[in-house]
């Protein structure tokens, strides 16, 4: 990851107006974000927070009410920019009468590649997404997972520097989600800059470097996972074979906050007291399973950020 800014969004606002809503519905409200080369940035937020609207504006599919977007320093209207990006739409739907091979050949053709290059690209991409064996299966006969993989392949047809993925694991079963996440990590390893939009926080935690939490059209929190999660707040010792009496003894030790169901919680500052507590557990006949210093999960951060935003608004 370096400091070059690949995608810059400044003051982006989108208000949907119609005959019946002259005042308008604000889908995106003064949004600012930037994505650096090589990083994986994720926009997370609940449904209706404006994630997809933001992506569509970035890609020039819809037009902002105010603000600007630049990719590689230029507007999306510049065709040379589109040569360097790839887009996986949400619930991607491609021409269902064609098979994977034909679809990828078509999309590769839009970049002007000659036939030999297209053939080679199709083979490479189908192998990458694991669709070689099913290359002749028409899109409409593919499972959801296969469709998402083909859709990802079409986004990679021009070997883009910036990949924009909108809900790439939406609708997939756990195996499918796992496969897709592995693919994204592979692309990350290859140095792609990825802008990912998702509401599956677990996968975001796995792949992203930075996260922007969107709520009601704006970014309410932004930063790396560690920045957002903050420092660990306690030490947790998971034990087994500790009865109630022994639990009371352990709870009486200095630095211990609580003992419940075999889980001993200590304050984060009581690191010096760790060994005496472990000894007490051992003497009480218990067995230490695990000692850890957990950070708040992204879900916790997410919920906290939204709650905070709601409170601030009130």
């Amino acid at each position: 990851m370096n400091d070059e800014i690949v995608l810059q969004v400044e003051g982006l606002t989108k208000i949907y107006r119609s005959l019946f809503t002259p005042v308008g519905v604000k889908a995106v409200d003064n949004l600012n974000l930037s994505v650096r080369r090589g990083e994986t940035y994720s926009i997370v937020g609940p449904n209706g927070s404006g994630k997809t609207t933001t992506l569509k504006i970035i890609l020039g599919l819809i037009f902002p009410t105010a603000g600007s977007t630049t990719i590689f320093g230029s507007s999306i209207a510049d065709l040379s920019v589109r040569d360097r990006i790839g887009f996986l739409p949400e619930d991607a739907y491609l021409y269902d009468v064609f098979n994977g091979e034909e679809l990828l050949d078509f999309y590769a053709g839009l970049f002007g590649y000659p036939r030999s290059r297209r053939r080679q690209l199709v083979d490479e991409l189908l192998t990458l997404v694991g669709m070689q064996a099913n290359r002749k299966v028409p899109f409409r006969e593919c499972s959801k997972g296969m469709r998402q993989r083909l859709a990802l392949a079409q986004a990679l047809v021009n070997d883009p520097e910036l990949l924009i993925l909108d809900e790439p694991t939406s609708g997939l079963d756990p195996a499918g989600r796992h496969q897709m996440t592995r693919l994204i990590l592979e692309l990350k390893k290859r140095g792609k800059t990825i802008l990912l939009c998702s509401h599956f926080l677990a996968e975001v935690e796995e792949v992203c470097d930075r996260v922007g939490i969107m709520y009601r059209g704006g970014v309410v929190a932004e930063g790396s996972l560690s920045e957002l999660a903050g420092e660990p707040t306690e030490i947790v010792i998971t034990t087994s074979g500790v009865g109630e009496a022994q639990a009371a003894v352990i709870a009486a030790q200095p630095g211990v906050l609580s003992v419940s169901d075999g889980v001993v919680r200590m304050t984060k500052e009581s690191g010096d007291q760790l060994w005496p507590v472990l000894e007490t557990i051992h003497q009480a006949g218990g067995r230490v399973v695990e000692v850890s210093r957990p950070r708040p999960s992204l879900q916790d951060v997410f919920v906290r950020a939204i709650r905070q935003d709601t409170v601030e608004e009130a």
Binding site: L59, L79, A92, V97, F98, Y107, F111, A151, Q154
Partner: protein, 297 residues
Amino acid sequence: MTPQLISLIGAVVVVVTLALTRRVWAPAIVHAIPSVWRIAKITVAEARRRRVLQAVVVLVVLILFSMTFFSYLSPGEQSRMLINGGLSAITVFGILLAIFLAAFLIPQELETRTVYAILAKPVKRFEFVLGKYVGALIILAIIVAVMTAVLVLVLVLQDAMVKDLPDSTFNPNLEGVLFAALMNYFAIAVLTGLIMLISTVSSTTMTVISSFIIWAVGSLQSTIHDLAEHADTAATKLLLQVLYVVVPKLENFDFRNEVSNYLHVSYMSGWDALLQGLGYTIVVLILASIFFNDRQV
């Protein structure tokens, strides 16, 4: 002001505008050709894979063959009926197919969101519109060619069957039939462009309904022209003249009467009709591109 002078002024305006903007349109056209062609090819391939079009063509072929069962008529009347009925069947089905093809081309892409994957690529929106239009033209050309070939076959077969009869006046008028079918195709092409324009700004249902209305109005071109000539008030005359400019001139391409009655066919009129239709279609496609360019997908 004579029509020739008006056309000359128009030509001057076009040349000057193009000269002023050549730095914009020249590279745009160079870039557009391969993209338009690719999108046209995929449109054709998609239509070929969908069985509906093929089913309609088979239906028309059956209808054309069934028209040979007017054998109780005299050969002279039979050839007239075959030519008339056959060309009219090609017109009706050609236009129906054009409406249902063109009305769904762009809206369906928007509905199924297949357009996102394309517009995220280095494809300009006007290239997408043009590509869809060219694809539709190719599909319709194939369909009209097949239907015309069947009609010609039917005429040739009938001619072979009756030519040994005494005083047979069966005249297949193949040259006229081919010309009328070609003109018919150009009419369909003009209507398709207009349907695509409407589809860029309205839903599929509204597009289909509007297309039928426009087809009917376009076929009454001569009536509108008459009304405009004989209008009572200046305001009515102006309104009708504007309507006459806006409406697609489908009757220009209608040579069925001349061909079925073995009258003289003016090829020059066909050429003029083509020029007029081409100008109209270019304007319609420019408008479609502008509307689609501004459309939020």
